[in-house]
């Protein structure tokens, strides 16, 4: 009995110390600040940018950085800083839209094949093998080539390829969770399969998927801007980091800031997601 008291006393502090732990991790904290600020930029770009990102001024073409234009101006005289800021909207959207559908599909499929195994699992194994044989980018480019360039098609392409990675992770984790007696207990209690899978197994199996999701958001931004750079994703004149880098490409010797600044934005945002992912992996690892 005293044992129970001690356990409950110790564990009631646990959620609190977990938050404290998070605040004490500089990596996680920096990541959270970066992503928090990036989200603000994405939601309210006009508040932070002083110019219309598409305002063309032929009298101020390719100006070097100055107080009026901290990142300079591009070949059409548009304010580069405003364009980088407005690009946050599209690029942060990519982090979400290029991953949530893959996440949803992958988690569902992974949980189902992990629970039922059998023929479905064997078919799934073959599909996974077939998809991961190709480098991710090559396959996505192939799908975009078929569907045609553009943001929506890019999301579809990334989802079609990306769900596999989530599903694989989820399947393995569900199988591991099924080794615990609570899964058998659920069956023996006469619960429906749906209840066991989605209410009992899935919440217990989702942690590594969430950690991977953070990393995947960083990858999605990289991938999205790569495709934008190649002309397969966002289309000019939309302000998107990949597009911006591509536009500055021809002036790299004379106006290097045009390509460098969006590149730095990609690096910082990617770093933010990775730091959060690392921090979450550490924080979620010990089970309460």
């Amino acid at each position: 009995m005293s044992n129970a008291v001690v356990t409950s006393a110790k564990s009631s502090d646990a959620p609190l110390s977990r938050v404290q732990l998070a605040l004490r991790k500089p990596g996680f904290l920096i990541g959270a600040v970066i992503i928090g600020f990036s989200t603000l930029l994405a939601l309210f770009p006009s508040f932070f940018a002083h110019y219309d990102p598409n305002f063309i001024d032929y009298l101020a073409v390719r100006q070097p950085p100055s107080w009026a234009h901290p990142f300079g101006t591009d070949m059409l005289g548009r304010d580069a800083l405003s364009r980088v800021i407005h690009a946050y909207t599209v690029n942060m959207q990519m982090a979400i839209l290029a991953t949530v559908f893959a996440l949803t599909i992958g988690v569902t499929v992974g949980a189902l094949v992990g629970y039922y195994r059998g023929v479905a699992d064997m078919v799934f194994g073959r599909v996974v093998d077939a998809i991961i044989t190709f480098p991710f980018l090559v396959l996505v480019i192939a799908v975009v080539a078929v569907l045609g360039p553009g943001l929506i098609n890019m999301y579809i392409a990334i989802t079609l390829v990306g769900w596999v990675y989530y599903a694989r992770l989820m399947r393995a984790e569900v199988i591991a969770q099924m080794g615990n007696d609570y899964a058998s207990a659920g069956i023996v209690m006469g619960y429906s399969d749906r209840r066991i899978i989605f209410r009992h197994l899935l919440p217990n199996a989702i942690t590594p998927v969430i950690v991977y999701w953070m990393t995947d958001m960083a990858l999605a931004i990289l991938l999205g801007s790569s495709l934008g750079y190649l002309g397969l994703g966002a289309q000019p004149p939309q302000a998107e980091w990949g597009v911006l880098i591509a536009e500055g490409r021809n002036f790299i010797t004379t106006a290097w800031w045009l390509s460098l600044m969006p590149g730095i934005a990609i690096v910082i945002t990617g770093l933010g997601f990775s730091l959060i992912g690392d921090g979450l992996a550490d924080l979620l690892r010990p089970r309460g």
């Binding site: 044992n3 564990s11 615990n180 007696d181 058998s184 619960y191 217990n204």
Partner: protein, 329 residues
């Protein structure tokens, strides 16, 4: 005394296949259980006792092949669809597991998990479910039940968790409880409490219990009948008093001798020589022959069948130990 058995297990065989080889986990297990009776399944690790239990409720068929027959109040369970089985599971037959650390979902509160069972198996409304949940927790001896409904499994000790598990299993008033080593993971004082609790509730609810254990002491205290299993087969079964007092199978006898009884300190304890055979390569004859002191040449080549040696008493041995005068009954 036993009017009509509620559970009849007949020639139950469960086979797992690993990498193309068949693993005979359970072979020809038969027993019957009357209303309110407690049946023990004893044996070493890997003797097939847990698999037998899991085969009864159709858990084993998810990963192995189950043959033979399990009849529950006349209904055949082995061939029943999952859909029909779901109505029996939890409502008529419930099961509790060995590891109280993993047999509760760590992410849901105890109250949620208790009411979930009631939701699945009864027509009770939200309030009534909550009341019943508190009543059940109270019933299994958890103090301040109402205030603990909102707590998570990790806030309970091992023994308390096993009590919660019992409360969940018994919430829908099943007629049979399958208990898979329910006290093995608990310390000795808690073990006794949990066993007493199971017996008390079984008695109150006139519920049958199939108890899997490797502890003969537990069997002696709790069971009416017992089946001793070795390498997937029953080697001896009958009424607990008879089997434990005058074991006829050398293996049962060995198990009995390995329980320390009134020995002076620092006496070396007896253990059955050798180790159980691998199920992948069972000996041709009696599986126990390599470890048996009474084994003759027949034991190496032929497997003794389980035979009646007295009313309600069976053993599978060519050279059964002599029945002493205690066994006259």
């Amino acid at each position: 005394m036993t009017d009509h058995p509620i559970l009849e297990v007949d020639n139950l065989c469960t086979t797992f296949s690993r990498g193309g080889t068949d693993l005979p986990a359970v072979r020809d297990v038969s027993f019957a259980l009357g209303k309110g009776q407690v049946q023990g399944l004893v044996g070493e690790s890997g003797s097939g006792k847990s698999v037998t239990l899991r085969s009864i409720l159709g858990l084993a068929r998810h990963y192995g092949e189950v043959r033979g027959s399990v009849r529950w109040q006349g209904q055949e369970l082995t061939t029943m669809s999952e859909r029909q089985l779901r109505k029996i599971r939890g409502r008529e037959i419930a099961m509790i597991f060995q590891e109280p650390m993993t047999s509760l979902n760590p992410l849901l509160t105890v109250g949620t998990q208790l009411t979930e069972t009631l939701k699945a198996h009864t027509d009770l409304g939200r309030r009534a479910r909550r009341d019943r949940a508190i009543e059940m927790l109270d019933h299994v001896g958890i103090p301040a039940a109402a205030s603990r409904l909102g707590e998570y499994p990790h806030q309970f000790s091992g023994g308390m968790r096993q009590r919660v598990m019992i409360a969940i299993a018994l919430a829908a008033s099943p007629k049979l409880l399958l208990a898979d080593e329910p006290t093995t993971a608990l310390d000795v004082t808690i073990q006794a409490q949990i066993l007493d609790l199971i017996l008390k509730l079984a008695d109150e609810m006139s519920m049958g219990v199939v108890l899997v254990t490797h502890d003969l002491g537990v069997v002696a205290q709790t069971c009416d009948t017992v089946s001793v299993m070795y390498a997937g087969r029953v080697v001896e079964q009958g009424a607990v008093r008879q089997v434990l007092q005058t074991p006829r199978h050398p293996y049962t006898e060995g198990l009995m001798r390995s329980v320390p009884q009134d020995v002076p300190p620092r006496t070396q304890l007896y253990s059955v020589p050798g180790t159980p055979p691998s199920l992948f390569s069972l000996p041709e004859g009696c599986a126990f022959a390599p470890r048996c002191q009474a084994a003759g040449s027949a034991c190496q080549t032929a497997r003794p069948a389980l035979q009646d040696i007295a009313p309600g008493r069976q053993t599978a041995c060519f050279h059964p130990l002599p029945a002493t005068q205690d066994n006259a009954a």
